[in-house]
Assembly symmetry: C2
Homo-oligomer: 827 residues x 2
């Protein structure tokens, strides 16, 4: 509209003459993928060699006389930097990767191996090794994760129990193992003589002194272990702090954090975890196991350049590693795969899922062979209930779900506020350590008097989940007035609670409050710290208390029509352990907002389909309640707090903005830095990379037309310039024109005005960068970025470049539209 046709037609015709005809002239038969054609058609072998050697500055010159003879070009030197695309560390630290580019890179690599496979037997086997490398890698990662988990389990039990006493017969065993190995049963304090409390070793006998001494030793060990863990983390590897899941999520979504998954971090994390768990801090080792497994994954990729040199491919292995981590943390391989799929991973095609499952199984099986709990079971809390639940119990289950959601929202809010304060105030060296020591002292002092906080948290959770039976008769929780009239199992259910049970309920309530408050301050400190166990602990306490309450109501009113309707007379009506389990799931769901994976993990713990229905209901309600109060789960909250550029694939973007509202430049901004292909010289390129620092630059046909022709990354320009410098071509001056034509374009198509010799660099320009119209709705663009793994998209209208949208711009926009108080940092 409003454009006079004749001049446009002229331009269009000249386009057609100069460039569009390229594709359709009959003599142009070898115009394949521009990235590949020079490789595939000229000399495969040499290029393959090159790509195997992988030296960043390797300079290859390919002057083709046949090209030189044709056309109007007086002298063109050709440089080929295809091989350079295999360079590791292509991305800077704290930068976003371009999945599409990395996939193309891998495709090229794969092609070279395929082309080469018929040339020699070695190359042929190389192809199969290449195909198998992913499986080998995930197998190694799984086995490593299983071994490390076993070592950590054993060590953490030992350090935990060291606070209370030791096993003189074999010093490296925990209390339970010590008693078992000496053929003594381990149930309550003092019941097993093989295990000596610290007071026993020094022959304290009087009650209060003995208690005070043990108390003191407990707090002392707590402080020493916590201080050591904090020191290790702060001095040796700051990345080893926390659970690592927020960072793992960010890395898997395509962000580069160098050293986060390094060997040093791994070692410090393992040592720190063992110490922090031993210190009795309010944290778990389940979340950090995901970080440990991801470190293994990252380290093993060094064996295969296919994965090590390609950030996108590396993330496939990391997804599998995350699955293996959860698999060994809970002994739930299927839950691990679903956790990786739901919570951690970003790119999770079927191939990755199958490999993740393999890694998770390998890890679980390795752990089972190690048998760290001496029980033959690897499920952290393996439970088998004798009785099912009744329909009326949906009411307390729903209440547990609501409480779980409320607790989750409360915890997230408080923890984020405190984390923000910590981030701003506790930066300088001694402060983080002092924080750790203070929390350790507080934890020690608060924990010791209450048996439910004194013991290892996962042991207590196991106790809360179980039903009372013959074997755990000594515990306060199971001190019922037994009426030995019915059969053996049922006598442990539905009896009148003694005052000891009410005492246990009080202690549980206190433990719950203490854990809830301590965890707020613990999570985010400079020690390795997971959230699963403390969250489940809080939920399990609430659940057990409500469960006992329900049980006693059912017992007292057992003759009312209501309970006669639902419960059979000589059978247990209410199982308090199930309530604890549901409460734990609800609280964990409220904090992490996990859904399917959480329910499946619980499913693998109990094995019974019927118990899963109430767990699912509670998790659903907990998530709804939590979402209504605080939108993000704790991991997303910490991602935002750290300003990581993370795109949540779970949420649809629902606002009506258009690309033109988001793209850069906005009115008033400086124009984009671009490369004018019609005037590009060596000096102009040098100027560009010297004066700006963008990831890449759009290439225009000419500055007048503003028509977008392609995309060049800064790294490729710099490599090209190094290439030109290194070659010391006498004809080439600073004013030489530079072309980025691929073979299919035929050099004679290029119009060279000057008499200065020109340079052509092949294999650098991306001739088809993703473009969107300025009228495209942002919700389409958000989907495009998320699903295609883009780093940037160019905004054009009728081919004219209007601007650029980067992932960071897009994330900032998403964040601002959702009124998120956090900002996106990094690139």
């Amino acid at each position: 509209m409003g454009v006079s046709g004749s001049s446009t037609r002229k331009v269009v015709e000249s386009f057609k003459m100069s460039r569009l005809s390229i594709k359709y002239t009959p003599d142009d038969s070898d115009s394949d993928d521009p990235l590949l054609s020079p490789v595939a058609t000229t000399d495969d072998e040499r290029v393959t060699e090159r790509s195997h050697r992988v030296l960043p500055n390797q300079l290859i010159e390919t002057i083709e006389p046949s090209q030189r003879r044709r056309g109007r070009i007086s002298s063109v030197s050709e440089y080929d930097i295809v091989a350079d695309r295999m360079v590791p560390k292509y991305y800077e630290d704290f930068h976003t990767i371009d999945w599409l580019r990395d996939k193309t890179k891998d495709h090229l690599r794969h092609k070279l191996i395929e082309n080469r496979k018929r040339t020699s037997i070695g190359a042929f086997f190389n192809k199969y090794l290449d195909a198998a490398s992913g499986w080998i890698l995930v197998f190694l990662v799984g086995v490593a994760a299983g071994l490390l988990a076993g070592v950590i389990d054993v060590a953490a039990i030992w350090t935990s129990d060291l606070k209370m006493g030791m096993c003189p017969s074999s010093g490296y065993y925990g209390a339970q193992q010590c008693c078992w190995l000496n053929n003594q049963s381990y149930a309550e304090e003092g019941s097993c003589s093989a295990w000596q409390e610290w007071s026993d070793t020094l022959s304290f006998t009087s009650g209060p002194a003995r208690y005070a001494f043990n108390y003191f030793i407990y707090v002392l060990f707590s402080v020493i272990f916590a201080g050591l863990a904090g020191l290790f983390v702060v001095i040796l590897a700051p990345y080893a702090s926390g659970s690592g899941i927020p960072e793992a999520k960010t890395i898997l979504s395509g962000f580069v954090i160098r050293g986060y998954l390094g060997a040093w971090t791994l070692i410090v994390k393992i040592a720190g975890m063992v110490l922090a768990v031993g210190a009795g801090l309010s944290l778990g080792k389940e979340g950090p196991l995901v970080h440990v497994a991801c470190c293994c994954g990252n380290l093993f990729t060094r064996l295969f350049p296919k994965y090590y040199n390609n950030e996108a491919k590396k993330r496939e292995i990391l997804s599998a590693a995350a699955a293996a981590g959860v698999s060994v943390a809970f002994g739930a391989p299927v839950g691990g795969v679903l956790f990786s799929l739901e919570e951690v991973s970003y790119y999770f095609p079927h191939k990755v899922m199958w490999r993740s499952f393999f890694a998770a199984l390998a890890a679980a099986f390795t752990l089972q062979l190690m048998n760290p709990y001496f029980s033959g079971k690897i499920a952290l809390f393996y439970i088998n209930y004798d009785h099912t639940w009744h329909l009326f119990e949906f009411v307390p289950f729903v209440i547990l779900g609501i409480l779980g959601g409320l607790y989750g929202a409360f915890f997230i809010k408080c923890n984020l506020v405190w984390s923000k304060i910590r981030k701003n105030k506790f930066k300088k060296f001694p402060l983080p350590i002092i924080e750790v020591l203070v929390v350790a002292v507080a934890t020690g002092i608060i924990s010791y008097p209450n048996i439910y906080t004194r013991d290892n948290a996962s042991e207590v959770i196991k106790k809360l989940f179980s039903q009372c039976g013959p074997e755990d008769n000594n515990d306060l929780l199971c001190e019922y007035n037994r009426s030995y009239t019915y059969n053996l199992l049922d006598e442990y259910h539905d009896n009148e609670a003694t005052s000891k049970v009410y005492e246990a309920m009080l202690l549980l309530s206190l433990a719950m409050v203490a854990k809830a408050i301590l965890t707020i301050f613990t999570f985010g400190m400079k020690v390795p710290a997971g959230l699963f166990i403390p969250s489940m602990f809080v939920g399990a306490c609430v659940g057990r208390v409500i469960g006992i309450g329900m049980e006693q109501i059912a017992f007292i009113y057992k003759d009312s029509w209501f309970f006669k309707l639902f419960c059979s007379p000589h059978e247990a009506c209410v199982t308090p352990g199930l309530y604890a389990m549901i409460g734990a799931a609800a609280a964990l769901g409220g904090v992490t907002r996990m859904t399917v994976s959480l329910v499946v993990i619980m499913f693998e713990l109990t094995g019974g389909l019927s118990y899963i229905v109430p767990i699912m209901v509670a998790v659903m309600i907990s998530k709804w309640v939590g979402d209504a109060i605080v939108k993000d789960g704790i991991y997303d909250g910490h991602i935002h707090l750290n300003g990581f550029p993370f795109l949540d694939s779970k949420e649809d973007f629902i606002h009506d903005t258009l690309v033109c509202d988001v793209m850069k430049p906005q009115p008033g901004d400086a124009p984009l830095e671009t490369i004018d292909l019609s005037t590009c010289t060596i000096s102009s390129l040098r100027k560009l990379v010297r004066e700006s620092n963008y990831f890449g630059y759009p290439c225009l046909l000419s500055n007048e037309t503003q028509l977008l022709e392609g995309f060049l990354t800064r790294k490729d320009i710099m490599t090209s310039l190094e290439l030109i410098d290194a070659r010391k071509d006498e004809d080439v001056t600073e004013e030489s024109r530079v072309f980025f034509l691929d073979k299919s374009h035929r050099l004679q198509e290029a119009v060279v005005d000057s008499d200065v010799p020109s340079v052509n660099i092949r294999g650098t320009i991306d001739p088809a960068p993703i473009q969107v119209s300025d009228q495209t709705p942002m919700k389409t663009v958000v989907e495009l970025f998320g699903k295609m793994g883009l780093r940037q998209a160019f905004v054009s209208r009728n081919g004219r470049l209007l601007g650029i949208v980067t992932k960071k711009d897009m994330l900032r926009h998403v964040s601002s539209m959702e009124k998120n108080p956090y900002s996106i940092q990094y690139h």
Copy 2:
């Protein structure tokens, strides 16, 4: 290069004046999403009303005098067809849906409800009902799937057993239920008097006559049931044949097959399944349960227009339904979700996964309450082995994997060849029925003499999976020479096999061959037929035979160093049942190429982690072997055979073609049908829709520039024309110019040359269709189509339209590049 700058600059400047400035003029503040702005800013209420009434041809006229006053336009009538976007049956039968478009549609609908929620209490609750509708739907689908599965289970047991006899005390029970309810144990023929074979009812006593009579009745029932099933399917609902999984996959990938998930198909499928299983044909009811559940899903969407009127949203429910179907088929809810994710679904975000899990649990729980097997367990083959496996057994496990892969490839090849013959030859009416009858007679005659083919296949599989124990001592498979020296359980293992066991091995081998051959001819016939059970049967037979062989080797050489090394002396060394299970998994994996979901289903059947490791290894090897021989699984094979346009999201496209090789028009083709926005009149639109039949048309700024401005669907053009006709606007003639401007464009921007009154139709044009450059690699485009759910993409270079790539073109190209002999039909 090669374009003289001055004329280009002129064009560019005039562009800038006329159109690009739209966005940046400061008075242009209300330029939001063009689809939404007229709705959201003018009169929300009326549009919401309209979209609720949802009448396809509802005509709304919106003349805005303020617009008319401005600019050079003498008279413009405005029509708004935004409301029309809620029309159901937007797509024709056998057409591909546009996910992106449907998502936008749903977004608009959601926006209207959001905007309206503050206006009244009803609207407020409407919002929450809208949010809950997905959950309500999947709950209903799950419960319905559970109920139907229970009914089918009970009915199929009854019809199966009816071939052999009846229960005089209660005629509608099968043999097992009949004996149990009469407090008699059911183990071998004749052991329970409550159940009468047909020969008993007529008092046949002599051996051969009795056998012949029973044989005859067996074949007779077989033929009657199969004939009835075939008649029902052929006459009443042809879509009820087969397993339905290939078609469900295709539908979920975004294809429309009207009636495939209708009520009529559902009823016929259920009746047909019961009859076909009862006939003893070599088929299972597990696959068809997926189809049944999907039918329920489709039917229940009628309750909520949100899902019923939106094909993309409807597929979310269907994914959940597929999960519920597998969940009840095997009693494996997690496996069901993973099956839906891995095998059936196309678009499976976390939200859908969570809902699918809910549906799968609801279905499984409903089935458990119904308790159709009278066992309290819903897992089809619930197994608990007493002994674990040994490392040396990996050798037979790997062999089972290889055999499974070979069988799968063999079955797929033969079945596809036969299906092709059937497709070409057996079209006319009586032939399909005759085919069914012939196969039924053959099946009946072959099956009766062998006890392992005579019985219901899933009962036999259960027997093959089990270990020998006190309860099944009568079976041939467990006739060992017991040495009653060790403890109770172990005496059933590792004994010398009697000749009866060898007889059983022979019978199993014969049964395996018979099933393998019969299934080739059965799958694809005009009866409802699933593949899971026959495939597992074949694998289980092979596995059990090899297992018994291994067991006997271990028994005979039990004193050799080898077995002394691995096996403990007084314990079972080899469990033949585990071999049967692994063989079944391998065979099923070879046929269907399922991976994670298959292993998880097996995991849910056994519950033991350690048994899963060999199953996973066997499934992996089976898939590799199978893939090496025949690339596609049986479902994909049937999809290709039927010519459905299905994009396999599991496979990467690895070829180096570019968009310009695939797009239409290719050199020599007729140019695209386009709409020239600068000259578009009512008569030209009429001509366009009269003379062509494309899904939509690209809109060009003008034919001279060829600059792509937007996209109009045929349906929208036709609705617009109806709108104009219905309005009977006197000023509007056939030569009236038609604009498709949205409010943000401001009418005065339009250049109207003629004096004839113009018409503006808002809310029709898509101003930002997805565009790709002609140099874009096809692998990027394949990914783009797959992940974004596109129906078409326009190919442009520098804004000029070069062509179009549709999903069908892309699929044809993928198919041809992979040298697939099948072709893509339909649109």
